[in-house]
């Protein structure tokens, strides 16, 4: 009979994918100026009252000791998230930036880029908030450690904060949030079989050489640079219509992916990046619970892996057909679920060993670039403390390698594309070209 260790108070057993995010965090801390973090930005039509936000945040964060947690090991070697006691104070990081005429021409993007490239203070620090008051534009940003939330979870958390403020500080919003997870030390055969499926797919993808831009080591730890491309409701509706016409009903993801693949191919070709095919990891949400609060914290994502052949990248019809077919095949064999299952086998290994192992098989060329499309509006409200939310977008630090990615999200009928690029990986002109391509081709 298998032993079963149930989660106990103050302890959340990490999934294999949580562990992978921990490896990414370590890799990024060794190769860039900060860890595996992301940032959600709420653009607002009116400035928020700093005092109200600070007071509200202080009260709200106190409800979640989990955000001051850190990684530890059970004696079975299963890693878990150790949470401090409920009474432990959650120090608040809230910065306030006022842009004046002398600020750079980037507007709020300048300080937002600084925030996402600023490391957290210590191993218990996973969250920071920022208010930016610009000329004619203002925003609230939340920078978060990807080990604590995935993108959708972070949106949900920010949504809870909005509800908390709207309810006048009612702690009920934090009730019934699930913070337990089984230690998951059984079903080994199933996990190994899942590993076999994953292995086969990865081997098939890497038969051809993986095209990747070499990441140049600089004297200092590089940060990330960003471009945010906004499509308003009318433009987004036009993109949906074209996606339906070219790729089929509801096939927005393959359509967006194809346009990104074409643009990336042009840049790689201009760079003369060798032979082989592109390998592109695409994150996907595996949430199934009816109550989103059951799946708020930690990672509920997994990955698809796509291969884009250079010959397909110049033939839009064939490219879309190939992406749809690959998506279908991976859904059919439940690849993302199997990757999640198989990744739990890796929890036994120390992060430092995993960091090296991630580089071994493909000489560090794990992928060509990243892509994602978060299609569901998880943040439900259209206002925040009386200010209207004009847009919501994400600024992820792309895992290194590959260090470059294009990430789409939708908000209230709008569509945003965020280009996230490690400094030095692509030139300004190359990022300009991707931005121009996407604006024209979508």
């Amino acid at each position: 009979m298998a032993f079963q260790y149930l989660s106990i108070k103050n302890r959340y057993y990490l999934s294999g994918f949580d562990w992978v995010m921990g490896v990414m965090d370590l890799i990024m801390k060794h190769t860039t100026c900060s860890g595996n973090a992301s940032q959600i930005v709420l653009m607002l039509d009116a400035p928020l009252d700093e005092i109200v936000v600070r007071k509200g945040l202080t009260q709200f964060l106190r409800l979640f000791p989990v955000i001051r947690g850190s990684v530890a090991r059970h004696y079975t070697l299963a890693p878990y998230w150790r949470m401090p006691d409920k009474d432990a104070a959650s120090p608040l990081t809230l910065t306030v930036t006022r842009l004046d005429d002398s600020s750079s021409g980037q507007g709020v993007l300048g300080p937002l880029t600084t925030f996402i490239n600023t490391p957290f203070q210590d191993k218990h620090d996973h969250l920071a908030f920022h208010l930016v008051y610009g000329r004619g534009e203002q925003c609230l940003a939340m920078t978060f450690d990807h080990r604590l939330f995935d993108a959708r979870g972070a949106e949900l958390f920010l949504g809870l904060f909005q509800q908390f403020l709207a309810s006048g500080g009612d702690a009920k919003v934090a009730q019934n949030i699930s913070l337990t997870r089984d230690i998951d030390l059984r079903g080994w055969k199933q996990k190994f079989l899942a590993g076999q499926t994953v292995n086969r797919r990865i081997v098939a993808l890497t038969k051809d050489r993986v095209r990747a831009v070499p990441l140049v080591q600089q004297g200092r730890m590089p940060g990330f640079q960003y471009r945010i491309i906004n499509f308003d409701r009318e433009e987004a509706a036009g993109i949906t219509t074209r996606a339906y016409a070219e790729a089929g009903y509801l096939m927005i993801m393959p359509y967006l992916f194809a346009r990104v693949a074409e643009s990336m191919h042009r840049i790689f070709e201009q760079r003369g990046v060798g032979s082989g095919a592109y390998v592109v990891p695409v994150s996907t949400d595996l949430r199934r619970a009816k109550d989103v609060r059951d799946e708020l914290f930690f990672n509920r994502n997994s990955m698809f892996f796509f291969q884009v052949k250079p010959t397909d990248a110049t033939d839009p019809k064939r490219l879309i057909a190939s992406l749809k077919e690959q998506m279908y095949q991976q859904v059919q064999i439940k690849f993302p679920e199997k990757l999640m299952e198989a990744s739990s086998l890796m929890r036994i290994f120390p992060l430092s060993l995993m960091r090296m192992a991630f580089h071994l098989p493909l000489e560090g060329k794990l992928a060509s670039y990243c892509f994602s499309h978060v299609s569901k509006d998880t943040f439900a409200s259209m206002d925040f403390l009386g200010a209207r939310i004009t847009n919501l977008f994400h600024m992820p630090r792309t895992p290194v390698p590959p260090g470059i990615g294009v990430f789409f999200n939708s908000f209230n009928g709008r569509l945003n594309a965020t280009i996230s690029c490690l400094e030095g990986a692509f030139s300004e002109e190359e990022i300009d070209a991707i931005e121009k391509d996407l604006r024209c081709s979508l």
Binding site: Y244, Y249, L250, I252, T284, K324, E325, M327, Q332, S375
Partner: protein, 89 residues
């Protein structure tokens, strides 16, 4: 498009009912709450959810549709999709 199961005797209503069950399971909803005439995108179904529906259709009705035209007219609702499946069985 791969068309199999020529001997299937399912009615259009049977297909619709089976399809609604599959969609309900994919989006974690109650079958009774799904109106067959409601567009799938209004049910919060995205590209991935739609591909999951296509995989369900292949497993259940032996029809592979991913490389079909996936026109809005035929695929927008559970009802139009059932009708399409019925015509192609």
């Amino acid at each position: 498009m791969e068309v199999k199961n020529k001997d299937a005797k399912m009615t259009e209503q049977d297909i619709e009912s089976t399809l609604l069950e599959g969609i309900a399971s994919i989006i974690s909803a109650e079958k009774a709450s799904l109106a067959p005439d409601r567009p799938l995108h209004e049910l919060g179904i995205d590209s991935l959810g739609f591909v999951e529906i296509l995989v369900f259709i292949e497993k259940t009705f032996k029809l592979q549709l991913i490389q079909a035209d996936l026109t809005r007219k035929d695929f927008e609702t559970a009802r139009s999709l059932s009708s399409f499946i019925y015509r192609n069985l």
